[in-house]
Structure formats: structure tokens, C-alpha cells
């Protein structure tokens, strides 16, 4: 049952009503039951994993809090992190390791074909594993006290709006909210509904329409020229934004309607003027998680190497982030690219700032525009390797972009037209939000008439050109 399924449209209002009617003391319990119901409906055995991770995290965080002995605290933290990482490693890299060994055996003619066991990745495992690790480290660092109610910890790990693809939340934001279970006011519900509506628009109209076009090109990349491949590469970046960004908005909106404030995940990333700014606007919950629990500890450990310590930390962080996406060469290369982009920026940062200041460039439109385009191209180029294809396919496409050209692939003209309608609306919304936050308001317009007209138009567009066959979200696979 995903957000775009018909079942969810029945499930969620029911959950909300039950939640509102439940006495305050037991509201967390109704959410916990709803969350397990949601997850069990995807695959019942997966719920064993969330229960196991919740139990282990609950026990070890309590142990950390109950001892004064620093070594013991540290050991408890390490043991819990290893325990909860085991399933992630097992499920994520099992198939990869298998096929690696099989290839090795085959190359020595030692392969003895028996029926293979293929494991499917428990959906959402990366997200709740990260949340549990973050909570454990927070307790160890004395940023938060260990929660005494097991049910609240279990709810934090399994909260249904976030379990499939984030945003990757933190205990210090969520636990208190779950404990208090405050009901939302009218404003929260209304803003939650608006976020959901725009999230559905981003997913069904933009992401899935762009997806049809992009897939048509990438899946037959041998037959397409460099121009079309380049367009597809640029469009794919929009697709990922609309896909995960749309999903995140729905998750945030759903939580809001339940009275819970969840962190944002994207802040108009395509208006970033550098890669470091881009990463402060793109998949923010993942990147701040990596910054707090990976990058900062690494920079602290290697701080005596000064700026080169920063470079080392950036490379390690992004290579791990790449491997997190998948254990393939192309994902590692994706991570290396990000690391290199950011390292170059780190090494030249002060010179760039001084240069911009000298010529007063940061206020010049053309300069900002060039930087935005450059950042977008750099990121899109890296996403060619972050799509999950083979390294050789990605390299072939990359090579073709620079060596061949020709007419742009159109396919069915309606696909292209619908795609551009969606993209244009998304762009206009982000553009006005970025540069004119108080003007051209539609969902937030002071006139009720305009507000209602805007909602209705978006709903009509979703039904007219949205892809309504229950497609999957890209980030479910990670």
C-alpha cells in the first residue's frame, strides 16, 4: 500500500479519524497499530525486522542511559549499531555478493547451477535503520534521554508516513511529539492537505510523465543520439526531484494532518548556485544525517590534516552514500564525483568568495544564472551514474552525449506536451517561492476564490494527465 494507491486514500482518512477520537493517553498506540498494519500489508515478515530493531534499540539506549561507565556506554552503542546494521547489509548486499561469487566460480568453470534464492530488500529498511542509528548515537552523545516507553520507540522506527522513504527523522524532534500526541489545529490540517496535493502533483503529473519519456530513451539508449540522451539525462534529474520530493511532501502533509511536524527534505534544489549549496537543498534529511553521524565525526578524527582532512571526510562520506544507494561500481563512482565536486569547492571556497566580493558578483543576475546552470549540469551528469544502471551503460551514454547528435526524440507528442505542462508548473511554483515568496500566491492566496480555483485546477490536472496506474517511487529501492 503506497501513497499513490487507492487503498491509501481509504486507509489514511480512517487512521486520522481513529487517531482524533482516541483518548490522548493512547493516541501513540493507535498510530503504532496503524503503522504496523501499513507495513504488514506490504509484507508481513518485514514487520519482524522493525520489531527487532525497535527492541534492540530500546534495550541498548536504556542501558547507555543507566550506566556511568564511559567504556560500557560506548560498547552498548557500538553493539546496537552493528546489530541493526546486520539486516541492512544482509538484504542489501546479499544478491550482489552472490552474483559476484557466481561470476568468479563461472570464470573457473566451477559453477554448479542450482535454483537460486533471490532476496527482496525489505522496503524502507535503509530509512528506519538510519533513524535507529541516529537515535542510539544521540543518546550516547547525551543529546537526548533514552525513551522509557517501548511503544514510543517502536512508533518512531515504524511511523507509517516515513517508513518507506523518509524524510529520515530524528528522535529529538519526533519522540516528544509522539508522547504529547497533540491534535492538529485547522491551519495544520489545511496546510497538510495542500502539501499532499502538491506532492501528488509532483509525483503523478511530473515525475511519472517525465519517467515515461526518460525511460523510453534510456531503455533503448543504443538507438538514440547524443542530443536525446543529453535531454533525458537533464530530465531525469527533474524526475528524481519530483519523485522523492513529491513523496516527501505527501509524507510531511500526512504527518501534519496527524498533528506532527516532520522536517523538510527538499528546498528548491535547482536554484542552488554551487554544489555545496545544492546539497543543503537536496535530500536534506539524508545529507544532514550523513553530516551529523558520519562527516563531522570523521572531520573531527582527521582534523590535524587541516583542509585535506575535510577532503578525506567528504570523499568517505559520499562514497558511503553511494554504496548506500547500491553496491555497484556506478554508485561508487557517483559518490566519488560528489566528493570531488565538493572537495574542489572546499579548496577554492575562500578565493571564490573573495573574487565574488571584489566584483560584487553575487548580486549580478547573469552570474547567479550561470552558477545555477553549471550546478544543475554537474549534478545531472553525476545522476547518470546514480540511476542504478551498469557502469558500462552509463559510460556509453556519457560518451554518446559528446560524440553524436541529431534530432531530439519525440515519441508520442502527447507525452512530451503533458510532460512540459507539468514541468512548467513545477518550475513556476519553485521560481516564485524562491525569488518572490510573498507574491503570486495560489494555494495561500488571501482570496478564497483563487485558493479554491487553484486546488481544483491541480486536482483536475492530476486526473487528466497524472499517471494513475500506481507506479513505484524511485527511492523505495534504496
Amino acid at each position: 500500500m503506497v501513497f499513490t494507491s487507492f487503498n491509501f486514500l481509504i486507509f489514511f482518512p480512517l487512521v486520522a479519524i481513529v487517531y482524533y477520537l482516541t483518548p490522548k493517553k493512547y493516541r501513540w498506540l493507535s498510530l503504532l497499530i496503524a503503522s504496523y498494519f501499513f507495513y504488514i500489508n506490504i509484507k508481513p515478515v518485514f514487520a519482524l525486522l522493525t520489531t527487532g530493531i525497535s527492541l534492540s534499540t530500546y534495550i541498548f539506549t536504556r542501558l547507555i542511559d543507566n550506566t556511568e561507565n564511559e567504556t560500557k556506554k560506548r560498547n552498548y552503542m557500538v553493539v546496537n549499531i552493528i546489530l541493526i546494521l546486520l539486516p541492512l547489509f544482509f538484504f542489501k548486499y546479499f544478491n550482489g555478493i552472490n552474483s559476484g561469487i557466481f561470476t568468479l566460480l563461472e570464470s573457473f568453470n566451477l559453477r554448479w547451477p542450482l535454483p537460486e534464492i533471490k532476496l527482496i530488500l525489505p522496503i524502507g529498511i535503509s530509512y528506519y535503520t538510519f533513524m535507529a542509528i541516529g537515535y542510539t548515537i544521540d543518546v550516547y552523545n547525551e543529546e537526548i534521554e533514552a525513551e522509557k516507553n517501548f511503544g514510543i520507540v517502536a512508533l518512531f522506527i515504524s511511523f507509517f508516513p516515513l517508513i518507506l522513504s523518509g524524510p529520515i527523522e530524528r528522535a529529538n524532534n519526533m519522540l516528544a511529539q509522539f508522547r504529547e500526541s497533540k491534535l492538529p489545529n485547522y491551519k495544520m490540517v489545511s496546510s497538510g492537505l495542500k502539501l499532499m496535493l502538491w506532492g501528488y502533483f509532483m509525483k503523478l503529473v511530473v515525475a511519472d510523465r517525465v519517467g515515461i519519456y526518460v525511460d523510453a530513451i534510456f531503455e533503448n539508449y543504443e538507438f538514440h543520439n547524443g542530443t536525446s540522451l543529453m535531454i533525458a539525462t537533464l530530465l531525469y534529474t527533474f524526475q528524481v526531484y519530483a519523485d522523492l520530493g513529491g513523496y516527501s511532501l505527501i509524507a510531511i502533509g500526512v504527518s501534519k494532518i496527524l498533528g506532527l511536524n516532520v522536517r523538510e527534505n527538499f528546498r528548491r534544489p535547482f536554484f542552488a548556485t554551487s554544489m555545496s549549496e545544492f546539497w543543503r537543498r537536496w535530500h536534506m534529511s539524508l545529507i544532514t544525517w550523513l553530516t551529523d553521524y558520519l562527516y563531522t565525526p570523521i572531520t573531527f578524527a582527521v582534523r590535524k590534516y587541516k583542509i585535506w582532512g575535510i577532503v578525506i571526510a567528504l570523499m568517505i562520506t559520499f562514497i558511503i552514500s553511494g554504496i548506500w544507494h547500491g553496491a555497484t561500481l556506478s554508485f561508487v563512482f557517483w559518490g566519488v564525483l560528489q566528493g570531488v565536486y565538493l572537495s574542489v569547492e572546499a579548496l577554492t571556497k575562500n578565493n571564490k568568495l573573495a573574487f565574488e566580493k571584489k566584483y560584487n558578483l553575487s548580486r549580478k543576475y547573469w552570474y547567479v544564472f550561470i552558477n545555477i546552470i553549471l550546478t544543475f549540469i554537474l549534478f545531472s551528469a553525476s545522476e547518470l551514474f546514480g540511476r542504478g544502471t551498469d557502469m558500462s551503460v552509463a559510460l556509453t551514454i556519457f560518451y554518446k552525449i559528446f560524440t553524436t547528435s541529431g534530432d531530439i526524440f519525440i515519441g508520442t507528442s502527447s507525452t512530451v506536451i503533458y510532460m512540459f505542462v507539468g514541468l512548467l508548473l513545477l518550475f513556476l511554483k519553485d521560481f516564485t517561492d524562491e525569488y518572490y515568496p510573498d507574491k503570486f500566491l495560489l494555494f495561500e492566496n488571501k482570496y478564497k476564490f483563487i485558493r479554491i480555483l487553484s486546488y481544483s485546477t491541480i486536482i483536475v490536472i492530476i486526473f487528466l494527465i497524472g499517471v494513475l496506474d500506481g507506479g513505484q517511487f524511485i527511492y523505495f529501492q534504496f
Partner: protein, 81 residues
């Protein structure tokens, strides 16, 4: 070492790492207030502070440092102990 002396040294460190002087050091100052003070330069500043004052921070202490006032107090405590 008195507070004034610590601030004076900190100023030199900030100028060295950030390569500009457009900031006024006071207790409430935090990373968001100073151009170029971000997650990249933060650990460079920390490293310099450790070298200049001959002290060592613990990772947990860094997490609890929310503004410059906290940093100055912590440095003061470390050099006097």
C-alpha cells in the same frame, strides 16, 4: 588567560581560516552569522583553536557548543585546568 585575550586569539584564527574580517566576535555569534563559517570551515577553526591554545576538545563537547560564548567558556576552562 582572560576572556579578552582568548577573544583576541580567536579573532586571529577566524581571519586565518575564513580569510576575511567582516565579523564582530561576541558571545551570541554562531556559524550562521559569519560568511564562510560552515561545516567545511568549522573543523578547521576547531583544529586551529586546539593548536593555538594547546588544548584538546572531546567530540561530545563540540556537539554541545552552540555559539561563540560556549566556545570561549570551554577554552577558558581547558587552559585553566
Amino acid at each position: 588567560m582572560e576572556k579578552e585575550k582568548i577573544i583576541e586569539n580567536l579573532k586571529t584564527i577566524f581571519v586565518k581560516v575564513l580569510e576575511h574580517e567582516e565579523f564582530e566576535l561576541n558571545d551570541d555569534l554562531s556559524a550562521g552569522d559569519v560568511s564562510g563559517w560552515d561545516s567545511l570551515s568549522h573543523m578547521l577553526i576547531i583544529g586551529e583553536v586546539e593548536d593555538v591554545f594547546s588544548i584538546k576538545f572531546k567530540f561530545r563537547e563540540l556537539n554541545k557548543m552552540k555559539n561563540l560564548g560556549d566556545m570561549i567558556t570551554l577554552i577558558g576552562k581547558k587552559i585553566n585546568s
